[in-house]
């Protein structure tokens, strides 16, 4: 699966784990534990990934070129240099936007059918 042969829409819909990791990395690179913390924070603790789910998903996202390992390492005084950092690729960013757009369209339909608050 290569980003050069795929369009963002070909990847949709994303699994919750993939989309949450893309969201966690949207504002900067993070290591595995940082991703877990960010996912827990943005879901208000509703989604807790175990190490197996986290790295299994990261592996698939690396294979699909949605994310990549960052070569830059933080100051060792500030962090454990053995950690690996991940960041979005440009393809991953486009896929995240496409998924967000898809979900927004669904929300719009839900609102129009008065299934959500704020329906007009």
């Amino acid at each position: 699966m290569s980003s050069t042969t795929m369009k963002p829409n070909d990847m949709l819909p994303l699994t919750p784990a993939v989309f949450h990791i893309l969201l966690a990395l949207a504002d900067g690179e993070k290591h595995g534990y940082g991703i877990m913390q960010e996912v827990a924070a943005i879901t208000d603790g509703g989604m807790k990934m175990g190490p197996g789910t986290l790295y299994g998903t990261i592996k698939r996202m690396l294979d699909a070129s949605l994310i990549e390992e960052s070569d830059e390492r933080p100051d060792p005084a500030l962090d454990d240099e053995r950690r690996r950092y991940y960041r979005l690729t440009s393809f991953g960013e486009r896929v995240a936007k496409a998924e967000a757009g898809r979900l927004a369209a669904l929300l719009s339909v839900a609102r129009s059918k008065r299934l959500m608050g704020g329906a007009s």
Binding site: Y33, P51, G52, T53, L54, Y55, D80
Partner: protein, 278 residues
Amino acid sequence: MMRGTIQTPLISLSESIYRALLIVYPAEYRREYGSLMVQVFRDVCRDSYRRQGLMGILLWWCSTLLDLALTAFQERRKVRVMISKQSFAQLAGVFLIAGGACSAIGALSQLQPDDHYSYYGVYQLLLLLIAPGFFLTGLGCIALALRYGQELNTARKWLLILSGVGSLASALSMVAMLIIDDLWNVWTSTTVVYFVLLAAFGLLHVFKPVLPCFRALPLMIAGGWFALWLGVINTSNQTANNLLALLIFGGMGLAWLAIGLAVNRQGREAGRVAEAAA
């Protein structure tokens, strides 16, 4: 984000057990991500301990075991690596250690002071370890039978395999009982089958031991279970009842743990001998 340096014996032990359990993942995956997974596991352990103490670590373990089982299955299926009969047999010790540990820790659920019609709090969490304990022990029995297949005669080999199947069925019926209340008899039947077959194997093993541990231990596991179970049935005193149940699951878990450790030790020694000979 430098993590705190809390390192209690409980966190160290948890980390060691988790590191050992990673063997269930494919080797290539483990090499690539194993150390990172351990690092994340330890980080969450420390945070959980800091926030909720022992309860936090127990909760983390429950979700980690589920995560481990599901994702290991996915990774193995994905890379289409079927565990061969031989490599499954090599995991006998690991299955028994993990199963024994789950049962022994889960046995602490029986310390709940009042009746056991329903469990609550930490006792409920501990109880959740009993079913994985039986499941892993069942896998361990089958793997043991394959590993020592040449030394065991046909009868002993099949008794061990079928007792393993009984343990697996017992574990699955325990899980099913969470959904359907009326399965108590199914659980009792499968568990009795497991221990009857194990007792038969254990009896034969006393006369011609093969497993690298006390020759009477398998018989003691089955015999002890029956003796204590009869005690539970015939005891009306709640405290004695709870204590007997604690001994049933705890004793069984520790005994399987001892056999698993002995099997692994023997495997390592055999490996060293083969290496030296080569």
